[in-house]
Amino acid sequence: MTYYDVDAILTDAQKVPCTFELTVPGLGFLEGNMSGDIKHGSKVELPLWLGEMLALSQSLSTGTPLVSLDHPPALSPRVLNALKADARTVDLRALVPHFYNLGARVLELFEEEEMIEVLSDSFKARAAVIADQAHNPRGALGEGADFMRGLDENERQLFRASHDSAKAVRTWMTDIKT
């Protein structure tokens, strides 16, 4: 990640479920309680950057982390199973626009070999369809339209790049005829 990377900043702003393992004085505002404490066992949705920071901070006396993180709903077992069944039918954009980036960030926090496999296989299977659509723009408007709408941000960039380079070659082929 680089400092000015907007996609990385947006990814880090995604909410993840967090459970407080300790009662923390004065943090009640995180769950809408403006003046109180946040109680042990409270569940709140926090932006990834904040959740990560709290999960990495430990109580000095007991060594327990302040919060424990859970997988965001976009990466729940239900979604992963749907991807395993047929990655091409899942609307990733509806889940979260930076789907793979969020996956990569979550994988930095949890060691999950299987998720890496599922995400890589999904990305490859969908990339093959993207390549076809990029060379056949009419398909993207017809039956491919639903698939195209469900692309995550990385996939959209992939489509745009492949589409533009195919178009650049076609343009060159036409230009030499004049």
């Binding site: 990640m1 680089t2 400092y3 000015y4």
Partner: protein
């Protein structure tokens, strides 16, 4: 080893220096266009090329106006070739400017650390970078930075786990063409090995040198990054 060293080695070659310089310039341009990071400035090559371009422009100016149709066609050939050279030089310089604009502080640090005999930037590029940076920071300071608390005014802060000094993605995948047999190459952290032979075209990433030796193997040997590819690592 840079292009100039390579050229020094080939003194015995019968190919005219002009032709070898065209080959070297083409290779330098392609590499610069496809590599995400800045490559070293090929100083003596550029001196020779620019000097010849200057003389050729003078020649064209002297002979323009000649009415002899034979000389006229010769001039068309010379001018066409001159325009091709000017395109090469211009595109080469402009793709370097693009990198300087994108990652000025990173490149300045690399230039400062570089060996004086093999500078990363030409004197003109270095001057451009520093003056442009001065203008920018003065402008940022007068338009908004000066109103920030002093601890938030820096543009090169590295605290907080992430550096403000941006740099290109040095692990990006690249296409390379192998110019000399490289031997066996190992992929860091895996048991993968592969043999890279002269003439091969590879797409590669995350490579560390195996028996090939120096960590600059590909920069020397594979660098003719095919006419494509993102970088020659």
């Amino acid at each position: 080893m840079d292009i100039d060293d390579l050229l020094a080695e080939v003194a015995v070659d019968t190919t005219p220096q002009e032709t070898r310089d065209l080959q070297a310039l083409t290779r330098a341009w392609v590499a610069e266009r496809v590599a995400p990071e800045m490559l070293a400035w090929p100083g003596s090559l550029m001196e020779r090329v620019l000097e010849r371009v200057r003389r050729q422009i003078e020649l064209v100016e002297d002979q323009t106006g000649s009415m002899d149709p034979k000389t006229n066609f010769k001039l068309i050939v010379i001018q066409t070739e001159l325009e091709r050279f000017k395109f090469l030089v211009r595109s080469f310089l402009r793709s370097r400017l693009r990198k300087i604009d994108a990652h000025p502080l990173h490149i300045l640090a690399l230039h400062t650390d570089a060996d004086e005999m093999h500078p990363l930037l030409s004197p003109a590029e270095h001057q451009y970078l520093t003056s442009h940076q001065t203008l920018l920071s003065t402008h940022y300071a007068s338009s908004f930075l000066s109103q920030f608390p002093s601890s938030l005014q820096r543009l090169d802060d590295t605290t907080g786990g992430i550096s403000m000094v941006d740099k290109p993605d040095e692990d990006a995948a690249v296409f390379v063409r192998v110019l000399r047999d490289v031997g066996e190459v190992a992929v860091e952290g895996t048991e993968k090995r592969f043999e890279m032979k002269r003439g091969d075209v590879w797409k590669m990433y995350d490579i560390t040198p195996g028996v090939a030796g120096s960590d600059r193997w590909a920069r020397d040997e594979g660098q003719n990054a095919v006419h494509s590819g993102e970088r020659t690592k």
